[in-house]
Amino acid sequence: MASLKDMRVRIASTKATQKITKAMQMVAASKLRRAQTAAEAARPYANKMSAVISNIASAAAGSPGAPVLLAGTGRDQVHLLLVCTGERGLSGAFNSSIVRLARERALALIAQGKEVKFFCVGRKGYEQLRRLFDKQIVEHMDLRSVRQLGFVNAEEIAKKVLVRFDNGEFDVCTLFYSQFKSVIAQVPTAQQIIPLVIEEGGANGSATSYEYEPEEDEILTRLLPRNLAVQIFRALLENNASFYGAQMSAMDNATRNAGEMIRKQTLVYNRTRQAQITKELIEIISGAEAV
């Protein structure tokens, strides 16, 4: 049986842990707000971009001269999985749920006889995927030193992906990230970005016939690489917001569990203390009676 002093030490240590998790929760909450505004600020651009692209692309997709980024290479033998995860843990199932989705997709593709390559963004995803697919990871990038996610980060990633695509290293590229629904719901999502999938509903603007300056093809060749960066940027921002959301609810749980533990430990401590006092009293009384 632990002595009273040991129990006191344990309670104090649980309280210290609770203080830390509480602080982390509050930090995550304030960072979440900022990440959410950033994600919302980026939305008009991404939406406009996809509206314009789907407008032009729906016309160009059928033509034989359509850009490769839109039409694809005509094969789907080699897949590149672009997996975006967080840089830090202590965020519940956030990182592992993205990795799980990517891993299941990869295993399914391998079972179909396809070749799979990985591009990891974020340290956590890299560490988890390395165990299974060490040889297939062609590149990994850390955003650890990045304080404020900027468009340049997304551009850098897009550039690396495009270089590999131009070298013919893969045919299809899929982006994995966590979509931010709400503080308690983050949905791991797979989105194919090369060749581009045009959403059906996006072509409602096709009623207006635009003039193009320069020609449609040229605009499209300018826009498609740009769109890639925009999609990646959006994914990074969504991921960032999801991360803080997940961390916030994980730390909220941890704080509550610590509180529960403190309650139980204190109960045991008080019982033991009372038992000891009673025992001492009995000893004194029976000693006095014996005299």
């Binding site: 008009p44 651009y45 900027g150 003039e211 320069p214």
Partner: protein
């Protein structure tokens, strides 16, 4: 004078949104002005200075490439980077140009042409900036 709706968005934020009289856009194939009731057009934008006119007031915004779309709902410019003239750090801009000149050597072929073209656009912005600063 009739006004129309103008949105200037960059990936990081909505840089401008409101009713305006006229917008002059540096297009890839030449500058053009947009007034209310302009025909629908999609045009690529080169790095340059965009002028927004509202009620006789001019506001100059530097855009580093992008795309302009005119529809019946108004004008939308998707800018790669949008900075208002007042906010621009001139020293840093000069630094960027110097950096681009430095990096020219690394490019070759058609990429070199593109880099030179882009550099020219940047230099013309700087030239215009210095010209306005003297007045």
């Amino acid at each position: 004078m009739a006004t129309f709706h103008f949105d200037l968005v960059s990936p990081e934020k909505l840089a401008f949104s409101g009713e305006v009289d006229q917008v002059d856009i540096p297009g890839v194939e030449g500058d053009f002005g947009v007034l209310a009731g302009h025909a629908p057009v999609v045009a690529a934008v080169r790095p340059g200075i965009l002028t927004v006119t509202t009620g006789g007031r001019h506001e100059k915004i530097i855009v580093l490439g992008g795309l302009a779309e005119v529809s019946e709902n108004g004008l939308t410019v998707l800018a790669d980077v949008a900075t208002s003239l007042a906010e621009l750090d001139r020293a840093q801009f000069a630094e960027t140009i110097a950096e681009m000149e430095e990096n020219l050597k690394e490019h070759e072929g058609s990429e070199l042409d593109q880099a030179i073209e882009r550099l020219d656009h940047f230099k013309s912005i700087q030239h215009q900036l210095n010209a306005t600063a003297m007045h």
